[in-house]
Symmetry: C2
Subunit: 469 residues, 2 copies
């Protein structure tokens, strides 16, 4: 293909889902002189398959395919990767202050009618408030600034009376919005709700029941795209520095400088902040790198001889303010003999109102605490798994965390400009998508958008139209 | 001195005030095998002198010596750098929604009695609330988590009724606490107040009147310390990577690897985030780098033939919600013929409730807007300066901003552990000081503390006590 020192048309920094989507769409658009630089020894970024001792696999990273994930579903179909539905039959379990409640439907109505009613009322209020957010053109208004100056926690405190409602919001925020209510801008929450279509869509993603998983894991998408791209993908090549000139860009990896006409940076802004960029990025893009952090969390899989909770009429879905796993659901593929529970736990080391303490630091105590929590929900059988596997994304060398956390003030200072090109640099990565930022769908949306930007410029240049920097 | 490739006892990364204090105290403690690595072509970090065309100088960075700055004052005396007091005679000017009010004392009582009373009432409430913060041992409590989940803006909204009070809080927060009320954790504000001794200390630093400046500029401290340290200080050497081993540390600068027994990283956590550190830092230190951002702001000097505002009975102090310079004061050294005003403006590009819009991006319009604001306060004479000089710290290659912004959630996740050593790495830099973080005093406190840590370990090692990693 390209000689090693030639200038390629495009370098894509990052072979995660978003970067590979970008690269593949560019090749499809005829831009074949392209290189994808990846820091790790594998592609897939925050999607990753892990093989257990017994030959079966679990997904350590981004996994779920929501029914609203139109671009992701289309990509899966293009690449011939099928999906399977999660089990949603049976009752869910809600644990609050050590009390375990089993319930049907989406909320623990029967067990805690007052708390549930309180939560439902606040749900409607949030949906109404969400309608006040009139899209990104509203970001420069005083009203937006006022909402961006508050945390979601201050809204939750005002809008709920019961501890149950606050616990539910704390768990929902952490797992679907990327932070505890106290970490998040209220404006970000409203913008997110509007972008995805309301509170109901948000809640549907919690049980896993409405969602599907890719057969062979979501990482399979990246593996197939990388196979198509062939030796354009270069592993073990962390980007250390990017220097932009009038007519080209230089990208340093250890021991080598790459040259390209344009660069697509396909990373989270938080990870990107570790790359030296000359000249400095425009303020909105810089501010994203400086202020957006990534959620520190664990994803835990526990494999049992069979999905024994189903015998008890339970779905495997739990929410807890006391167990390290704040939320679990059934991750057993259809037709499997073994039963798999997947759960999520905080890994940020801090205390938080209405949420359990983060995982113990000692690995033995951590496993004990996780299994004890499952035993409270599902009985003694939960104490004896075949396999136990943890993934702590915070410990990954090239990842600051799993999904983005938008603190107060970030949206109104970065505005919608944070995903705009900066000269010859374009930005992909799930976090740069206005919809479903941080999810697989956001990764595909952002990757396709960045590829479209670059392809349009290349076409214009080929037609002799002077490229604007 | 040391041969180039030898292992030194200590490398200090960063020749700002804090790093140089560390290095100097280490040499004083007998640790003379030491190297200070600095990215820029000068020492002093966020303190910097700028010479104007007419031969006089202005300070582009950290400047004020508060009466509470005990360690800074002691350092100045040691180094033989004297100080001069700012002018505080005359009335101050308060501009709100284009209306200009002149007032004596600390608040615009006479001009806006209701707003001033409202502000004073909220001041007392904040002082009372501040007493609830019981020191850093309280960081793990549910009460701390609750306060850390709220922004200072949510407290201001609750505690004030008038627009005047909210404007005053917005300006005070931005200029003395490192962010708009919406950017800041309420817990951080309370912790800061407790650490410095209450709201009154905070307010005293606003007019410049209670404070002094170093003769020759605060950068003079760094220049004198660097002269003492001699060729131990190596300029133009940005640290790209730090690798820690059991018995030594490697520090990469372009084209060279340095070896040391211990390293003091003397940078803001936000700037440090651009350095690749292996193995990864512990969670509290990482979280600081990921979530703490630095205020984006301008410091502007305007030099006039004489301090003409004094003729009008004015002190030069202004606060404005309409001028790009939110706050100004008289920066004329005693005995100078020319008059100098210094002012501060937002440079974050965002909108904010109760604060003026940030500076225009066009430099000509920026200057016009600044001078027009001064003319509203001081009359037409303000339109015709001898010199006009801006410093935008956000544009400096090696600085993400001027003072730290603590968002909600950071204190309770990073806790007091963020300044603790990580193996052979120690942390200086003003931001790691529990008192006066972000100021010159914080830089000295942190630098001395880090030096004491390292010196104690070196003494223990010399005495044959096995060093704990």
């Amino acid at each position: 293909m390209e000689p090693e020192n030639s200038t390629v048309d495009v370098i894509v920094v990052g072979a995660g889902l978003s970067g590979l989507v970008s690269a593949r769409r560019l090749v499809q658009a005829g831009i074949t002189s392209l290189r994808v630089l990846e820091a790790r020894d594998r592609v897939g970024g925050r999607t990753k398959l892990h093989r257990l001792g017994n030959g079966r696999y679990v997904e350590e990273g981004g996994q779920l395919v929501g029914p609203e994930y139109k671009r992701l579903i289309a990509l899966g179909e293009e690449l011939g990767v099928s999906t399977w539905p999660h089990n949603e039959r049976g009752k869910a379990v809600f644990e609050r202050r050590g009390r375990v409640i089993k319930f049907s439907g989406s909320m623990p109505w029967t067990a805690d009618p007052l708390g549930s009613a309180d939560f439902a009322r606040s749900l409607l209020r949030l949906d109404r408030l969400g309608k006040r957010y009139r899209g990104d053109e509203a970001l420069g208004t005083p009203e937006a600034a006022e909402l961006d100056a508050l945390t979601f926690a201050s809204w939750v405190n005002r809008s709920t009376k019961s501890a149950t409602a606050r616990t539910l919001w704390a768990i929902i925020a952490t797992l679907t919005l990327g932070g505890t209510p106290g970490d998040l801008s209220l404006l970000f929450v409203l913008r997110h709700l509007r972008a995805i279509g309301g509170v109901e869509t948000l809640l549907a993603s919690l049980s896993g029941g409405d969602e599907r998983s890719f057969t062979g894991g979501s990482a399979e998408l990246s593996l197939r795209m990388a196979a198509e791209l062939g030796d354009r993908v270069v592993l073990d090549s962390p980007t250390l520095a990017i220097r932009q000139y009038d007519d080209h860009v230089e990208v340093d990896t250890p021991g080598r400088t790459h040259h390209a006409r344009r660069v697509v940076v396909a990373m989270s802004p938080s990870d990107r902040a570790a790359i030296s960029v000359d000249p400095q990025l425009p303020l909105p893009q810089r501010t994203m790198g400086e202020r957006m952090s990534m959620l520190h969390a664990y994803k835990v899989h526990v494999v049992y001889p069979e999905p024994f909770w189903r015998r008890q009429g339970l779905s495997g879905a739990t929410m807890s303010d006391s167990a390290p796993l704040m939320l679990t659901f059934d991750d057993t593929p259809p037709g499997e003999k073994q039963g798999v529970l997947v759960g999520f736990a905080r890994g940020d080391g801090g205390r938080s109102v209405d949420l359990p303490d983060p995982m113990p630091t000692d690995p033995v105590r951590r496993r004990e605490a996780v299994l004890a929590g499952l035993a409270r929900a599902f009985g003694e059988e939960a104490l004896h798994p075949d396999e136990y596997h943890e993934m702590n994304w915070t410990e990954e060398r090239w990842t600051t965390g799993c999904v983005p956390t938008w603190p107060p003030g970030l949206l109104t200072t970065s505005g919608p400009g944070y995903a705009e090109p900066a000269g010859r640099l374009h930005f992909a990565g799930s976090e740069t998508s206005p919809r479903w930022a941080g999810s697989l769908e956001g990764a595909v949306i952002a990757g396709e958008r960045a590829a479209a930007e670059v392809a349009a410029l290349a076409t214009a240049e080929a037609a002799g139209v002077p490229a604007s920097r």
